[in-house]
Symmetry: C2
């Protein structure tokens, strides 16, 4: 296997930088005429993967919409991930885990180990306990040719309270960007990506040196637009993987309608 | 059912402010002669609950040590939580979840809804996306007489990079403490607790007005000591629920040895 960054770059070159959020939330299940259950979430998610895997570079299943059904939901998520992993699309499991020491190692084992039941190509991780606390997941990514996306500047307005707070050498988000940039440079592996919302007129941080993948949620439903991405991200736009969720899923379960909408988004 | 804060206070008055970390990490399973598997983690965890539930106020299972086995691990965690919920001890599921909008609602449904397979008395939540992003979990706690513990000042040194960064009206951690204090006052429910590590000589934040439960990990293995808590927490020590993990579990699986160690810790 080759590195996460290289695999992602190859598939994005072929298909364009679009990632579909696999978000089987209760209101979507109702709108699609599916039961609000592990089985309904599984049907919705596997349908999306089945219909769109040839068109899109990546899928981002949201763990919360499976965790709410307990072990039955997690068993469904295992099958969704297995489906994605059988295509050439990348799986990015959105779990936003963050902890310390042996606990962070256990999260890395859960999602980034090769034989884990919930193995994904990449996961999202959360740095409230400091960027340094995330090293066990980054190490696991290096060892297993997987990726991590560290939450940096999230798409919601409340995020600024934490992310734009200042240290002596810049804001929290800038410190995270700088640490990720440096590790990506040193490792030549570029396993570390960032999550940066596409909803901000001004990001309040500098991504111009960042050399990994940038996962950008908030396109569509939350107000971000694909065509605004170059203005927001500047040269870093070449690293952007844009996430569409409700803006796509709202077209309903019809395969042709979903494919047509994706074609329009990829442009 | 009465509020989380009242239920916790009653059990702490009776048994003392001790919470056992249910951390079946791989090295512990090996030391106890158990397989590193969902079954081994379940045996370890249920043994701890069975042996100690009459002595201690609360158990804090760590989700990561179950997630690493996928759906089989989560099914084990369901049974561990069910065991705790059949005793008068409080269950605090350590999941450190944090997200926005409908995703945060799904996490709240997963762990704080009354009929959820993974329902706990309280969960830990992470505010990297801003304290305001956590409101769906706080609302669920109010509605269902559950509790939440917001990560504030964590026990690890790297946490300072985020938690002590400054906004105009104080540090990130102080902003979180102040927001939690205000909501606890307004609701008269005191469902919002905080996670504050017991490893710091100086906390770098002011807890003197805080009126909810304070969960304090880092006692024992990470260097914190029960007898130092009054000096660290001042008057707020009356709200402290001290978490012991490896410092207790290292005595091995023998029931009498575990009970003796707990008696010493409660003092």
């Amino acid at each position: 296997m080759t590195t996460y960054f290289k695999r992602l770059r190859a598939v994005v070159l072929e298909k364009g930088p679009l990632c579909v959020a696999v978000d089987p939330h209760p209101s979507l299940l109702k709108a699609w005429g599916l039961p609000v259950s592990a089985s309904g979430a599984e049907k919705c998610a596997r349908h999306l993967v089945n219909v769109l895997s040839e068109q899109v570079a990546a899928f981002k299943p949201q763990s919360a919409f499976f965790e709410m059904y307990g072990s039955a939901g997690i068993a469904a998520l295992e099958r969704v991930l297995a489906d994605i992993n059988q295509t050439d699309a990348i799986s990015i499991l959105d779990v936003k885990r963050g902890d310390i020491g042996s606990t962070m190692e256990a999260y890395a084992a859960a999602y980034l180990a090769k034989d884990a039941p919930l193995a994904a190509d990449a996961i999202t991780i959360s740095p409230y306990l400091g960027f340094g606390s995330l090293l066990p997941a980054i190490e696991a990514a290096y060892q297993n040719d997987r990726g991590v996306y560290v939450l940096a500047r999230t798409s919601n307005p409340e995020g600024a309270d934490v992310q734009l707070a200042l240290n002596q050498d810049g804001s929290v988000v800038q410190n995270i960007i700088d640490a990720a940039t440096e590790m990506n440079r040193d490792s030549a592996n570029r396993a570390i990506g960032l999550v940066v919302g596409g909803t901000h007129r001004s990001l309040g941080c500098d991504l111009s040196d960042f050399n990994g993948s940038i996962l950008v949620p908030g396109i569509g439903f939350q107000g971000g637009k694909m065509e605004d991405l170059p203005a927001i991200f500047g040269d870093a736009v070449e690293h952007v993987l844009a996430v569409v969720g409700r803006g796509l899923l709202s077209v309903g379960p019809d395969a042709q309608a979903l494919r047509t909408k994706v074609s329009k988004l990829i442009g």
